[in-house]
């Protein structure tokens, strides 16, 4: 225990000193992402799926489509529900059990980006108004945690939604009958999240786990395809100056456009 704390202090100093000089321990530039790999449709049993590797961080997202009741205040809209599991095989820190605050925050930030950008045309997912609508379950499954779960999860969620199919149906006497064939889920916008960490006064994008342990705080901006901000989340027990916030927003906007190409155009 003592040793590991000591090592971590040395490493912490090393990471911070490098960043002060515009460099990173893994050789990246300050605004450079780790290598991104996207695999689509690998869970055939799910209506949509994608696996994103961000360096050694691996996130699998599966989308299931069900039928259920709409919210009473939105009788003509489908329902989107985003859930995340920090599966204990992904990190020695993760534990089995009901989702903790970190997992809930992750799911809610991914949800916010999709919802606020109106990415899914929920109004096209109504089957019988007030009674039956499609429910889109987006399940974020973290398989290996090496930092920046938000960006990897948001990318994987978008990639999975983009290959999600919903079954054809007809309504007969108030019952939903499934018909052969599928059509794609109506995805209208492509929200992308970009996270920056503040370390020793500098901003770096896509922090890996060691940087997350060193950082003062992180901030995530999600952008829609028009370059409008559609979600923000500051995390961590430090702070940003107002000027850092605005600088982070500008960097994030640029990176979001780059990442969107990767995810959407594949």
């Amino acid at each position: 225990m003592t040793t590991s704390v000591t090592v971590s202090r040395i490493r912490r100093r090393q990471i911070a000193q490098l960043i002060a000089n515009g460099m990173r321990l893994d050789g990246r530039g300050l605004t450079e992402y780790r290598e991104i790999k996207i695999e689509r449709g690998l869970i055939e049993r799910a209506e949509g799926s994608a696996k994103v590797s961000l360096g050694r961080t691996i996130v699998l997202v599966g989308v299931k489509v069900g039928v259920g009741e709409p919210y009473s205040d939105r009788p003509n809209e489908g329902v989107l529900t985003v859930n995340s599991e920090l599966v204990p095989l992904a990190s020695p820190e993760f534990e089995a059990g009901p989702p903790g605050e970190e997992s809930i925050e992750l799911a809610r930030v991914v949800d916010r980006g999709i919802r606020e950008s109106k990415s899914i045309a929920l109004e096209e997912l109504c089957i019988i108004p007030g009674k039956k609508v499609f429910i889109i379950f987006v399940d974020v499954y973290v398989l290996n945690h090496d930092g920046n779960l938000i960006d990897a999860s948001a990318m994987a969620a978008l990639a999975a939604l983009l290959n999600t199919k919903i079954f054809n149906y007809e309504v007969e006497d108030g019952e939903v009958k499934i018909k052969p064939g599928f059509k794609p889920l109506p995805v209208k916008d492509y929200p992308i999240a970009v996270t920056l960490a503040e370390i020793d006064g500098k901003l770096v994008v896509d922090p890996w786990l060691d940087e997350e342990e060193v950082m003062n705080a992180r901030i995530t901006f999600a952008f829609d395809k028009e370059g409008r901000i559609c979600a923000i989340q500051k995390g961590g027990s430090g702070f940003f100056t107002k000027e850092q916030v605005l600088e982070a927003m500008r960097i994030a906007r640029e990176k979001a456009a780059e990442l969107r190409k990767l995810v959407v155009e594949g």
Partner: protein
């Protein structure tokens, strides 16, 4: 169930649904030291928000292995009373409450000298007795006073306020209707003396320019509330002084 529907969130004269100007805060009432058992406490009304905060600690924490060798553990619970909202809320913590508890804790942590109290816990409880939009911000504002009332040393008071976009205008301190019907909401927590943004979130959509305006406006709101925080602390100090002198 009984909620009015507003046709326009900003009227022809530029007034908001509750008659405010675009850059006007709701009426705010703050009181420090309102509960007897807690080590520190405070109460705020901001519009129809009614929020209590209380602090216990630094104190022993169980189980012991959760405490930290080099600083105090700050624990925070943001909780809504079942009767605080239009439709009765189940008392079990919702996912929203769990997320807000986390971001509020992270908004206050940068202010506290946690390293002064290793191996202890500081427990912060925020109870939303009535909710009217902007509860997380008002909750942070009042919580930071409860911490001060408990005598916990802080770098600065944390103060919070939202700005947002409503009926195409960037406005300050959204109320419940504006929050639900408006285009965007940007809550910010701030330490004025340190130019430190300690909480920042956003719902809705904004262009970068609108966002910058909203940030500036929210921080302006924070500075106004900050003065009220200081006044409330001073009032509490004078009350205690009087009490002591009378003994």
């Amino acid at each position: 169930m009984t909620q009015r529907v507003y046709e326009k969130l900003i009227d022809e004269e530029g007034k908001r649904v509750d008659g405010r100007e675009w850059n006007e805060l709701r009426p705010i009432k703050i009181e420090v030291g309102v509960l007897n058992n807690a080590d520190g406490s405070a109460y705020i009304e901001q519009g129809k928000n009614k929020i209590l905060a209380a602090v216990y600690g630094p104190r022993e924490a169980h189980p012991r292995h959760l405490t930290l060798p080099d600083r105090a553990l700050l624990r925070c619970r943001y909780h809504m009373a079942p009767f605080s909202v239009e439709e009765r809320k189940s008392p079990a913590p919702s996912r929203r409450e769990i997320e807000l508890s986390k971001v509020i804790r992270e908004a206050l942590e940068p202010a506290i000298f946690l390293e002064h109290y290793p191996r202890t816990a500081i427990d912060l409880f925020i109870e939303i007795l009535q909710a009217d939009g902007g509860t997380r911000c008002a909750g942070i504002t009042v919580a930071s006073l409860a911490l001060a009332d408990a005598g916990i040393p802080m770098r600065d008071l944390v103060v919070a306020c939202a700005a947002g976009k409503v009926g195409d205008r960037i406005v300050l301190d959204l109320n419940d209707v504006e929050d639900k019907e408006g285009e965007a909401d940007v809550p910010i927590a701030f330490m004025p003396n340190l130019n430190a943004v300690t909480l920042l979130q956003m719902d809705g959509t904004l262009t970068p320019e609108e966002f910058e305006q909203a940030v500036n406006l929210a921080i302006e709101g924070c500075r106004q509330i900050y003065k009220m925080q200081k006044d409330a602390l001073k009032a509490r100090y004078l009350a205690i002084k009087k009490e002591v002198e009378e003994q």
